[in-house]
Subunit: 666 residues, 2 copies
């Protein structure tokens, strides 16, 4: 057993709770067989069929169908304690135990969901040595740190068809996430067929919505992968699309139209009239039966006070009930709707704005604005989910997301064990303003895998550099599984230029830029459903893998007092981009989707130029010699200016490198 | 209107019957709308929805849903003459007329199938200039040259799941093919659920078969794209899988097992017993209703005489009936089965072996062994389909397939107009011995597009070099449509080595090798369903795009008396491969799936070495000077030896170049 054979264990993501190397090497060949002892149900059978297909994809070796007969020795023995629940919950046991030795592997788990988690681990262990495909000897005991490990998909701002959601579910299962939170209604659309009130989807969706059959298919597909689907119907704000068909639900008279622009609209549900609650009751009755999950998310975020303040009826209602503030009024609405939902046997989830003295303690609070609401919630006895810090649409870096911990937040909060128990876990959120069916995977992968590891793996795992190493491997696995981040990037990039001449240079540019962070893009353009997401900013990765590697090399160079091999590697990489982008500015000018990016090229190349000159003065490429400190500073500052909603993140590591070089000389 | 704007018309594939440039440029932007006058049915509506999605994919611009109201001006007006037939046939009208000018486009066709063909052409015309996306002004009048433009998929030797077939159908529609011939039974498997005789699929398939629902889904999906599905159930030979469940059908006693190896097996149907024909009658009754197409393929190829010769019953039957030869006996069987099939209102198709004096004139003959049976068939009044020359599994080159014409064959046959009328068209065939769900697309694309053009476009189109230019564009379009030839190649290549170190060098090697042609691979290994198709030979393209470009550059160099820019380009490309493969032989030795390829590396590099030395003697790379004629010949001969079932097709163009260089000096 060489150290080479242990590598697959070091490459796992998410990392198991306990994963130890053991003697032996289990060959994966055409004799591979699967046996199943104790319990086996149809869900487990389907999981094993998928496993067999993926083992074939990993090796190209035709695998035997069917299971080994009882009593027969199989390469992989599955020992499952009992059936899967009809509906998964936060109490579902996902633990598993995997033992691999030369003679065979055994995967045991109390539930088929645990088996499914273990099969993902096993697939990640498949490797090749000079004898062929194998999995290394191992003793793995694994269970998730948090019961709630979710992803929010916003299918409203840009419609995401069923095929996209199915693909995302496959990717989620590969990184052991277990909750898909579907944001199904908002100002910009209503995305589920509603039989009780058909004008909701008929008039509120432009025809882009999930039918009941679609939803049932998504739920079955997710359930098969150990993933729950939690629906969100946001109210009382973010609700314009409801009012297109049913203006009587709003606190101000209609007519209403689907909101075509992004941003927060003012229309809100009318919290004063019983007819509104009756409508909600009928609606919840239908959705509570369509979505079997125990949880129902009722939104509650970003209620604009204006329409309630302007309405004489609402104002009279507030006076009558003694509500001093708009939040008091919202709390009344929350309480009523929570009652309606709970009547159907469901648990309510709301965004952190719903926290209020009158909020029933049964509600789960989802903290998004800050970490503090999470603390406030659990200290008040609510259960809570963290999303603050995990907004993937903000295009932040994986290490930032990885550094967020539900138990400590950014400030290192100290919580009691009881309070910690109320923290169910967290959810990454991908809001849809800049996400379309085309760039969905570019925005999700691989960063989502870093959040998934934070929620599954032991909290002490905190080495960002090792996370990045494994994230690169995870990204490749996700690509092989069918995720589209690479294919979509390549296709969208090619489409922006419509020609091959500029494509190589454009790839070089695309590899060193990133979209603006947070919600800065809104300052550049008024986005909405008629704005095409087909520009460079929409095609590039939120985090440049190239820049990440450069940043690590800079750290290594500084740590080694500018060891020659690090400096040489850095010089070569930067010189490649410098050379590849020669003449690009003028070429971009000829492409209508890229001309806005022309102004990026000179600051980028000036930045590379000062770095290259500084690293290798009087080198063959740039004979001008060492740049002055003023020249360097000017180049850094110019390159730090966004253009075309894009940033040049190379500025950071290059500044770090040049600063270090400068202080060395002093 | 610049010549730049006419390029899309020159890039079409298959080329329309008539395509002329016209004034104007029609912008494709967010205002694009579709109107439909005269007829519109649901098939047409679905076609327009797919068109809209693909126009979005081509531009990234959100397209308006729904149709323009009657009387309203739309960017694209569809004028369809009538509904689609419930079942398509060789008489289906596929013609269309497309007019594009600055103010709008009009697509008219007698049937929705014609509209579908025209929409594919329109999508191929989308391009980008400095103002944005557009289609060029054009007058296109198009109709297919042949009514039968098919592809045979063998889902028996290696199972191809439904998803693969659906994807192939999408690709077929993109190149205007209209018949998918499914080879559904053979010695190695029986791939359709049969309710009348369930042991056919239960015992004959290892669980890999299409259910009735699968078949209905495939047929509906194909019909929506103007594609017919013709089933083939091969008999009396190639039928072992039938006999696993029903040994009484065979002429020799069982028991039988699914044949695990490739090759032609001896078991055959018993042509002497009425019970066998009664069984076939029950079977055909079910399949004739499951498959609505007018045609039913009953096989008839490669009947091994041995079992019939050895059977006393069969011999007695022959004597009794006065059949002098085994072909006479097969003709009797053919006649009986044809009668059974025709009773169900179907037209029978058979492979060319069925041609015999007693074969009913209603049978369509599919010529595969030679061109001659096609001539013989049409001269005898049979209708016929050509497949000889279009066996894609033989890994031959696109220009070879492109050079085959159903009217002339390889020998320039002269047929009367009436005889030509009996030639319905042709079918490319992809037999499955070396085709799996993984490399299917590598084996199909882009070469199938060349056959598709031969069958659709005017016969005078014969410029192979322009075909290759357009084939490269077609390949990219097919990739964007979702075909997997690139993705699969990349993934399979990566899997052979399991490491990144060797990957760049391996890509260089993979770009200059091709699988053995024809059925040579059978001499190297006994193939069958337990042999993994996961080696380099399975991952590489049948035709190296790199070598094709080198061959063209060699021709250009010779034609221009070794113009410097051609020679420089050639030198650079060959030097790149030479440098990239340095040290590869030893590296390959460490990878179990690649070690067999090690012996390829030295002959390849020796070949490159003599070519480079000959092209640039005393150059910086190889200072040894000009190689002797003997050295050159030895290198060429060594490189022409196959290794690991792979060829180095660079030998051809390099020999051509070096010969030309040598004769210049003389």
């Amino acid at each position: 057993m060489t150290s080479h054979h242990l590598q697959p264990l070091r490459d796992l993501m998410p990392m198991p709770a306990i994963a130890e190397a053991a003697e032996g090497r289990l060959a994966i060949d055409g004799d591979f067989s699967i046996g199943c002892v104790a319990h086996s149900d149809e869900l487990l059978q389907r999981a094993l069929a998928r496993f067999r297909r993926r083992l074939f994809a990993a090796t190209g070796i035709p695998m035997k169908r069917g299971l080994a007969a009882a009593g027969e020795k199989a390469t992989l023995m599955i020992r499952c304690g009992g059936p899967a629940e009809a509906v998964l919950s936060i109490d579902t046991d996902e633990s598993y135990r995997l033992r691999i030795e030369a003679s065979g592997a055994e995967l045991s788990a109390p539930t088929p969901i645990g088996v499914i988690r273990g099969l993902e681990t096993l697939l990640q262990l498949v490797a090749m040595d000079d004898r062929g495909f194998f999995v290394p000897g191992a003793r793995i005991d694994d269970r998730p740190r948090f019961a709630w490990r979710g992803l929010l998909l916003d299918v409203v701002r840009h419609w995401l068809p069923k095929a996209d959601v199915l693909r995302v579910l496959d990717g989620m299962a590969a990184v052991k996430l277990n909750v898909l939170h579907l944001h199904l209604s908002d100002d910009q659309g209503f995305r589920v067929e509603c039989r009780a009130y058909p004008k909701l989807h008929e008039l509120g969706s432009d025809g882009d919505y999930f039918t009941h059959d679609d939803i049932r298919e998504l739920i079955a597909f997710a359930h098969d992968r150990g993933i729950r689907i939690v629906p969100e119907f946001d109210m009382p704000g973010h609700a314009t699309a409801w009012f297109v068909g049913y203006p009587q639900l709003a606190s101000s008279p209609g007519p209403y139209e689907i909101e075509r622009r992004t941003g927060i609209s003012e229309p809100s549900f009318d919290p004063t009239r019983e007819e509104v609650y009756a409508f909600i009751d009928g609606f919840v009755a239908e959705m509570a039966s369509l979505f079997p999950d125990e949880c129902y998310h009722f939104g509650g975020d970003e209620v604009r006070p204006k329409r309630w303040q302007e309405s004489a009826t609402v104002q009279a209602f507030m006076r009558e009930r003694g509500f001093a503030t708009i939040p008091d009024l919202q709390a009344h609405f929350s309480e009523r709707v929570a009652g309606i939902v709970e009547k159907r046997g469901k648990t309510v989830i709301g965004w952190d704005e719903v926290l209020h003295g009158h909020l029933p303690r049964s509600v789960i609070v989802q903290a998004w604005q800050q970490y503090e609401p999470l603390v406030a919630a659990v200290k008040s006895g609510y259960r809570a989910i963290l999303s603050h810090g995990w907004y993937l649409d903000m295009c932040l870096h994986a290490d930032y997301h990885y550094g967020i911990d539900p138990f400590t937040g950014p400030g290192g909060e100290t919580l009691s064990e009881a309070e910690k128990e109320n923290i169910l876990g967290g959810e990454a959120c991908l809001w849809g303003e800049w996400v379309s069916t085309e760039n969905l995977d570019i925005r999700l992968w691989p960063r989502l895998a870093a959040v998934a590891e934070r929620l599954w793996s032991p909290g002490h795992l905190s080495n960002a550099s090792d996370m990045y190493r494994r994230l690169e491997i995870a990204e490749r696995r996700l690509h092989d599984l069918g995720m589209q981040q690479r294919t979509a990037h390549e296709r969208m990039l090619r489409r922006t230029c419509g020609s091959r001449q500029v494509l190589r240079a454009l790839h070089a540019l695309a590899s060193v830029v990133e979209p603006l962070k947070g919600y800065e893009r809104h300052k550049w353009r008024r986005y909405g459903d008629a704005v095409a997401l087909n520009r460079l900013v929409d095609a590039v990765a939120p985090e440049s893998a190239f820049v990440t590697r450069v940043a690590h090399a800079v750290d290594a160079a500084i740590a080694t007092h500018f060891a020659a091999h690090h400096m040489k590697w850095l010089h070569e990489r930067l010189a490649e981009v410098y050379e590849a982008t020669d003449g690009l500015e003028m070429q971009l000018g000829q492409h209508p989707l890229l001309s806005e990016c022309g102004p990026l090229v000179k600051p980028l190349r000036d930045l590379l130029r000062v770095a290259l000159r500084r690293m290798m003065p009087l080198g063959p490429l740039l004979p001008e010699g060492v740049p002055s400190a003023d020249e360097v500073e000017a180049a850094l500052e110019r390159a730090a200016q966004p253009q075309a909603e894009l940033l040049i993140p190379l500025v950071g590591p290059i500044r770090k490198l040049l600063d270090a070089l400068a202080s060395r000389r002093k």
